[in-house]
């Protein structure tokens, strides 16, 4: 399993702006196969993640307008490479705040150092952010100023002991004056609502993101009021699986900083409360170059909380030239090139339901579109986990101080689609 041979970063206009080789150099020309596939795919998201070329295989991901194209020579599980490339992108995100071409170019040396540490001979070496941060300090404005004056560097001169320990995800010697542990319980509703408003498919996917700033080696236990709700769970490696199996308690020594503790799915037996409904009327008249568009969004089953951050996006059919609409609330935009209609609604107040209504202009002469577009809805509800999941308590062992603890709940729309 020879793993990753080389990596090329390519921007949307097809420039290779970074390359890194872990073995012998592979010429950039190998990317031509990728460009070919990209051209064929038309759409960036349809570029096949795995491309076979005469001498190599190319496995790529697309993240934040950058293609990460890796060159592979022999059999290797494709997910292994894909997962790793995403880990690389996550790391860039973590270090530079964004994973963009500019950020990567501005920090090219750090990027190179990171890549060097993350892979050895094409095999993953250090991918835990806690370890990497010990090895290579993330750039901050202050540090770069200091560095330029003093000539000191970003490379840690302390040796990363975490790499050597049994808990590689946590760095040693963590110290905070304020010890805090925050947990965000974030649930997303994935749903497909059909034309008539009935639910074709709905489920709740949740994650618990944590921000732990605790000194020393705290050993935490997080328990829930109703752990049985969690049907399928995936864990950060720090979690002791056995404890969960036997007691349904999350027991772990956390990494330092931000990380995703678990992701879960709420068992499908439970009916999912759909917090909004959509009334829609979209029609195109035969033999006329216009159509009607009328959409109303209303709250439903929101447990008394406000639905906010509502945004609707619609991919209109190609034949649509323009749209003349009036929104009773928020504002809308229509991009005539991509044919995307976006309506930023904001908060829904039950007294006055937001409505977007008007005329659709079609290309004259074009046949009337056969299909009605589906509506993609986003929303947010603060202070609510729609599944009803509740954190019971957080206990800390192994350290003496008293940490400040906090839990926040939020519900969002995931892939929430209304067919029309």
């Amino acid at each position: 399993m020879k793993m990753i041979h080389s990596l090329f970063l390519i921007n949307c206009s097809g420039d290779i702006f970074l390359e890194k080789h872990w073995k012998s150099v592979v010429s950039q020309s190998v990317c031509d196969y990728f460009f070919e596939a990209q051209e064929k795919a038309i759409d960036v998201e349809n570029v096949p993640p795995v491309i076979s070329t005469p001498h190599h295989y190319l496995i790529s991901i697309y993240r934040d307008k950058i293609f990460f194209v890796s060159v592979i020579q022999t059999e290797v599980p494709p997910l292994f490479v894909i997962e790793f490339l995403h880990r690389v992108a996550d790391t860039f995100q973590d270090y530079f705040g964004e994973c963009s071409e500019t950020a990567i170019k501005d920090n090219v040396v750090i990027v190179y150092e990171l890549l060097e540490e993350m892979l050895d001979n094409g095999f993953p070496l250090a991918t835990e952010s806690n370890i990497l941060k010990e090895l290579i300090k993330p750039p901050t404005i202050l540090r770069s100023v200091v560095n330029s004056i003093t000539g000191s560097s970003n490379v840690g001169d302390t040796l990363p002991t975490g790499q050597l320990s049994n808990i590689p995800w946590r760095r040693a010697g963590v110290k905070y004056t304020n010890n805090e542990a925050y947990f965000d319980v974030i649930e997303e509703i994935d749903a497909i609502i059909d034309k008539s408003g009935s639910t074709v498919f709905a489920e709740i996917q949740g994650v618990i993101d944590s921000c732990i700033k605790l000194s020393g080696m705290p050993d935490l236990s997080l328990s829930f009021m109703n752990p049985r709700l969690l049907d399928d769970v995936s864990f950060h490696p720090c979690i002791r699986f056995k404890r969960w199996e036997s007691e349904r308690v999350l027991s772990f020594i956390p990494p330092d900083g931000n990380f995703r503790l678990i992701s879960y799915r709420v068992s499908s037996q439970n009916l999912v409360a759909i917090p909004v409904y959509v009334k829609h009327l979209i029609s195109f008249k035969e033999n006329s170059s216009s159509g009607r568009f009328d959409v109303t969004i209303g709250p439903k089953q929101n447990m008394g909380k406000t639905v906010e951050g509502v945004v609707m996006t619609v991919h209109m059919p190609k034949a649509v030239l323009n749209m003349n609409l009036t929104a009773t609330q928020g504002s809308y935009t229509f991009d005539p090139v991509t044919k995307v209609l976006a309506w930023d609604v904001g908060k829904i107040t039950p007294q006055k339901l937001p409505n977007l209504k008007g005329i659709v202009n079609l290309q004259s002469g074009a046949p009337k579109p056969e299909e009605n577009p589906s509506l993609n809805i986003q929303f947010k509800i603060q202070q609510l986990a729609i599944s009803g999941l509740k954190v019971n308590r957080l206990d800390m062992y192994g350290e003496k101080y008293k940490p400040f603890k906090g839990v926040k709940y939020i519900t969002k729309a995931g892939k929430f689609q209304v067919r029309t």
């Binding site: 993240r63 290797v76 995403h86 090219v108 001169d157 990363p160 050597l164 490696p237 699986f241």
Partner: protein, 966 residues
Amino acid sequence: MAASPAYGEEKGGSSSLGEPEYGHDPASGGIFASDYKRHDDLKEMLDSNKDSLKLEAMKRIVAMIARGKNASDLFPAVVKNVACKNIEVKKLVYVYLVRYAEEQQDLALLSISTFQRGLKDPNQLIRASALRVLSSIRVPIIVPIMMLAIKEAASDMSPYVRKTAAHAIPKLYSLDSDQKDQLIEVIEKLLADKTTLVAGSVVMAFEEVCPERIDLIHKNYRKLCNLLIDVEEWGQVVIINMLTRYARTQFLSPNQNESLLEESAEKAFYGSEEEDTKDAKAEAASLAKRKPYVMDPDHRLLLRNTKPLLQSRNAAVVMAVAQLYFHLAPKAEVGVIAKALVRLLRSHSEVQYVVLQNVATMSIKRRGMFEPYLKSFYIRSTDPTQIKILKLEVLTNLANETNISTILREFQTYIRSMDKDFVAATIQAIGRCATNIGKVRDTCLNGLVQLLSNRDELVVAESVVVIKKLLQMQPAQHSEIIKHMAKLTDNIQVPMARASILWLIGEYCEHVPKIAPDVLRKMAKSFTNEEDIVKLQVINLAAKLYLTNSKQSKLLTQYVLNLAKYDQNYDIRDRARFIRQLIVPTEKSGALNKYAKKLFLAQKPAPILESSFKDRDHFQLGSLSHLLNAKAVGYQELPDWPDEAPDPSVRNVEVPEWTKCTSREKRKDKVEKPFYSDSEGESGPTESADSEPESDSEESGSSSSSGTSSSSSEEEDEEEEEGGSEEQSEDKEGEEEEEEKRKKKKEKGGPRKASPRSVGSEEEEEAEGKKVKKAAGPQGKKGHAESSSEEASASESSSSGSDSGTEAPTVVEAKRRKVIPSSKAGPKEISLLDLDDFTPPPPQPVPSSSIISTSLVTDLEGLTLTDTSLAPALLSPAFGAVRTYELLHRMAGEGLSVEYCFSRRPFPGDPHMVAVQIQISNNTDAEVKSLRVSEPKLLAGMRIQEFPEIALCFQRAWRPGTQPAW
């Protein structure tokens, strides 16, 4: 070299056109001359003695490399800085070296000595990074040096260095495959390593170098299973994939009793009627009663220990476990993976793509497994087309009598999608459902016929193609549809669709006797403008009509054949010639002519519409080969189950005797207990892996404090060790043994848990190497005993002799002098740290029968003694400030624990010996008697001075003063 920069710049320049410039990048843009000057500038900076300038220069150079520009002309200037003190400069130089060493081999050699020095560094991280860079420099001439370095590192006491050694193995192998045999030895040794850190890396090396040597795995199988959950995620993937193959060669098929059934089920698969999986299970169960199959406990162990990993956050790990279950688990248990795979569908689209491909393959064989998750495969308009098509594939595979109506309803919405490729795929999916599920055939057909009036030509064309296939199954009832389609020839332009219609009309011309000749007439007119595929079908149609209705079509046929005769495409010309001979009777035409009608109008079997994923499971799921449906380079076949199970006893690891362990590793292992794993040791041969690992493991894993089942696990540890690592220096065992014997007590526990940290520092200390002496003081409770007895002085028996064969006896012996001191515990010295050479102390395998496994000896290996002449007087025990290391953990020693430290005091008896202070504590309730050194096994060149027997060690006595400093 002079030419190269110019060339490089040019190349670089062109590729980077239009890119924004990097901050200081000297190489970006600009004309050649100025670049060249700028390089001079860089050289100056590199030559300066200010680190900040060097750093700046290196940063610019790395930026050039990152953009694919050639910076090779700077090689000499850069290489000089390889020994730079500044860590960041050094790292960047490494980056540069690894990139260009291959091109400038001679110059690269200049840097080698630096790395060789690094290999001896007391700091394990520096040793590791030196090895990493050294092994990454692809210069064939240093192969022997690399080989030595790897061997040495493989016995390093730091697991991190050993991990690096494992990583270096494939590098060396790819540089020179002649080293294979030697590398296999190293792999074998590292496979026996019990730390989680090493496991993944060494298995990766194994897969790359000698995947065929499955025999190397036997002894390590249980250990790997048990360690698995604590290995880092990337290692898990590699290990799981390897174990899948292993299991296929060593165990019997858990579904063997079902194999008959399976066949029948398979046949009926598309017949829609059966609920096959359930039935199959039930029947299998009944069959199983007749012919009992008992799963090998090791097989069960693997299944059980991998299952929790389905909960991993890493998609690759989940997929690896899923494929393991798919290939190895009894049918009834495979279902557990469905949930986890469905979860991955929430991940990035690339992950979805791969997972769906695998689900598609699995869903053909095990449909029941994914049925409950049917709705998770419903398609959203926002999915990328490639994902939509895969989901469609899965939905189609999952369709059966019960859910078909739901699925068809869902398909109806898909047909209206804006994404036409997707619509086309949906139509094909409908066709497949129709052929597979008899009940809905007519419904589907009607639906498809309606699509014929769709405005989009692609949709119509696809429908035609599918309808053609469906009609073939029962043509007689559908002449209306055929007529309808005949009319479409006027409008449809898509060649495949036209060809399909023509074929249909020709094939069933008897059902549409009036229309067929008319269609031919039209086609004859447009013949020259048709696509080749259509032309061929026109010829076909003409031939068939000629045979059935020659009156009306004779002239037309001849006309068409004449046109075809002069066609540009030779296939068409050939076809025309062939058909003319066949259908038009002439004198020359032979017997075939009589059979023309039979030939052309024979009953043709209806096509079977099947998934393109059928039978893809002969590739290991999750592999690149499976994804491409073609064997990728380096793919290891997944073997079939054996008919007879190979001897399961090969996996037994022998008697848990202390002695045999390899010292270093073992210690370490003890020190670092698997953090979360279930069970740490391997289960002894007798116990079926089944029961144990789960039960006891948790406790032992989490902490040693609970002190429970220590003995069993311990033993196991040891066993393993022996298995693999005999070769390691056994000499040390001697010492250990002694100690072991002294103990028979147990310790109390809590505080002493092994701390993984100690490793690093240990080394450092050793490194200092000088006169450390070891005081071997068993200080049981009696405390003072320690001081007096501790004296160990060692001198080494000078002969460095017996190196084990393979290794180069390069060890320099010059440096060591050995003296023999008087008393007891002996320090042994080894030349490991001699700076000038890097030969590793050859590990010799000594299968010793004695008892303890300690790493003390190994630690000692690192010491070089210098002359100190100290009086053998008393060494007082060192307290507090000195670090203690664990020699024998209380759990391992059944209550007796032993710690040792280098007191850093001269050993009085002999300048060449060091004192090691050993503290023995008894935590049991019983007394321990007769502690003494028995037949120490030392490395060549080591000596030990024994201490007198200590008669008693009471329970729970240990001196506070000597407690570990951390």
